[in-house]
């Protein structure tokens, strides 16, 4: 329990630190942000003065931070000049799209990666294992952008899967099931890219940790006692090998919002990535910072969940043993 409380406080402190960083970003923007808004004929002077007073630009720094923090806590993440709309709703819809993509990819990655990792770990030493290991190392080395372009090239040539965007032009005319199928079809390519890029890391980690445990004395003792291979694997090896995997899983959760930027931009998936990229070009500061806050919150939440999972699975941490922090 103490461990949990400590981790929670840590996560909270980090959140505050990230928020301070983001706040300082907004403050440090060269030239008044509002000067740029003023130049935009679409925004009326009243809106500008409203926003100015709302953001209290004439108050001391700490007070401004307080106001900003309060606003953020209430879901008000500022105003986007490029879209001429408040930031938070913009981010939400896009974030949900991103989550759809990344969650699907993550589930698939782990569903494929873990069994593959465990299975190949049991082959250790055989020549098949060498091939898998070399192949996996190769796959890990290939940069994500190459995987993306490669799969994209294949997809465009073979016309096997629809490319670009989340829905086709005729989406609204489709039936309920048709709409679902449409989205799923568009999901295929970006998911495939993410899975290919991520599965190799999962396989490597799982293989390494399971392999390590397989060599442990208590496993050899179990084998000596005559415990069958399968029972040994599931009841004795996997629970122990799980810990580093859970940490990795935590990382996966943590990057649910931020890990798919490249894929979204190249395949045209309407997620957080393309939005923030445009925002960067448009120097739409509040949008970019809103995006950072969103994904940072996710990251911290993901790490915290990972801590929870780790605590639940590893009794050594619960009892404050050697491996506890």
């Amino acid at each position: 329990m103490k461990y949990l409380a400590r981790r929670a406080i840590r996560a909270f402190a980090l959140l505050i630190a990230v928020s301070v960083l983001c706040f300082l970003f907004t403050e440090m923007a060269p030239g008044s942000f509002f000067d740029e808004m003023r130049l935009n004929p679409q925004i009326s002077p009243e809106t500008i003065s409203n926003l100015r007073s709302r953001y209290g630009l004439d108050q001391p720094l700490v007070e401004r931070y307080g106001h900003w923090l309060l606003a953020v806590a209430h879901g008000d993440l500022g105003y986007s000049i490029a879209y001429n709309a408040p930031v938070a709703p913009l981010l939400w819809t896009r974030a949900l799209n991103t989550l759809l993509l990344t969650t699907t990819a993550m589930v698939l990655t782990w569903l494929i990666g873990v069994p593959l990792g465990v299975w190949t770990a049991t082959w250790r030493g055989k020549w098949l294992d060498r091939i898998v290991e070399t192949g996996n190392s190769l796959l890990i080395s290939i940069p994500e952008i190459v995987i993306a372009l490669g799969l994209l090239a294949w997809a465009v040539r073979s016309r096997a899967v629809p490319i670009g965007g989340m829905i086709s032009l005729s989406h609204d005319d489709l039936s309920g099931w048709g709409k679902l199928r449409d989205v799923l079809q568009h999901l295929l390519l970006p998911t495939a890219i993410l899975v290919l890029a991520g599965v190799s890391i999962v396989v490597r980690h799982v293989r390494a940790s399971v392999g390590e445990v397989l060599d442990a004395p208590f496993v050899r003792a179990g084998r000596g006692l005559g415990i069958g291979q399968v029972r040994l694997l599931f009841r004795h090896v996997l629970p122990v090998a799980a810990s580093p995997g859970i940490t990795l899983f935590g990382f996966s959760i943590a990057s649910l919002l931020s890990g798919s930027l490249l894929v979204e931009v190249t395949t045209g998936w309407p997620g957080l990535g393309p939005l923030l990229l445009e925002a960067t070009f448009a120097r739409d500061l509040y949008l970019v910072i809103g995006g950072i806050i969103f994904s940072a919150v996710f990251l911290l939440a993901g790490n915290f969940i990972a801590d929870l999972l780790l605590m639940a699975s590893d009794p050594r941490i619960r009892t404050g043993g050697v491996n506890a922090e």
Binding site: F25, S141, L299
Partner: protein, 332 residues
Amino acid sequence: MRNKRRIRYLLVALAVSHLVVVFAGFIAPCDAKQQDRSLPYAPPTRMHFVGASGFHFRPFVFASLADADGYREDRTREYPVHFFVKGSSYAVFGMIKSDVHLFGVDAPARFMLLGADAFGRDEFSRLLWGGQISLAAGLLATLITLTTAAVIGTVSGFHGGWVDEALMGVSELFLSLPWLYFLLGVRAFLPLHVSPTGTFFLLIGVIGLIGWARPARLVRGVVLSARNRNYVSAARGFGASDLYLLRTHILPATFSVLLTQAAMLVPLYVAAEATLSFFGLGVSEPVPSWGNMLAALQHYSVLVSYDWLLAPAAALVVTSVMYGMLADALDS
């Protein structure tokens, strides 16, 4: 040991490939910026050995002529490939000037090993020149990251106490930031139109300063365990100063960690530069980099029709695989 030999071979291979890139000016037949608007998307020039007068060892090429549906070879004249030709001038490391190129053909034919891009620029030459930018970005950013990590990790591990807690807290903060988004954020509030040199240094500065957290923790771990070793206590017993301890006993222990981290970070950072340039946030035209060369492929029609433009992707893979193998070998 087999591993040591492997590391040696890999280092040689890496050195050779980096040298090729350093001497891009010499090896590349054309200037990276030289356009030829009459040859957009020209396919790779083919080398021939059998001509009108039979077989000769010296290969030759034909000029390319635009056609109704692509290009064809103009067989009216053979252009032999000459070696050590005079061509456009260049400077190695910006200092040694020359205008000798390894190979080339007489005008108006062009020997384009990997075809041409949208503006008729020789893809092969751009690949080599772009490699300078991309590899330099990776190496320099790695240098920045590892220097920062070494300093912070050593101070943290050696000093301990509140300094250690503070620095590790900051490192955890950096680990919590979604780095790509953070990069965008920093890029967003800096002026958009910086000169190519400016963007380059901006890029490596930002990439380098974001990634120090994990290596710093590793360095800190090594320093902590070295600090508690009895040979350090013994040296203290001889009256050694902290500086001596750091210099002689503790820092040398960090070298292997730093080296392995370097082998892991360089390909990561080269890919990061490529990604950012691909988005248009990195090195900008007309300076080539593997990333902005790949940006042309964002149009699906280009992606499908002109295979040779994927060359930078292949270069990225080769670089990453070589460094990856080095990292694996160093790890064991």
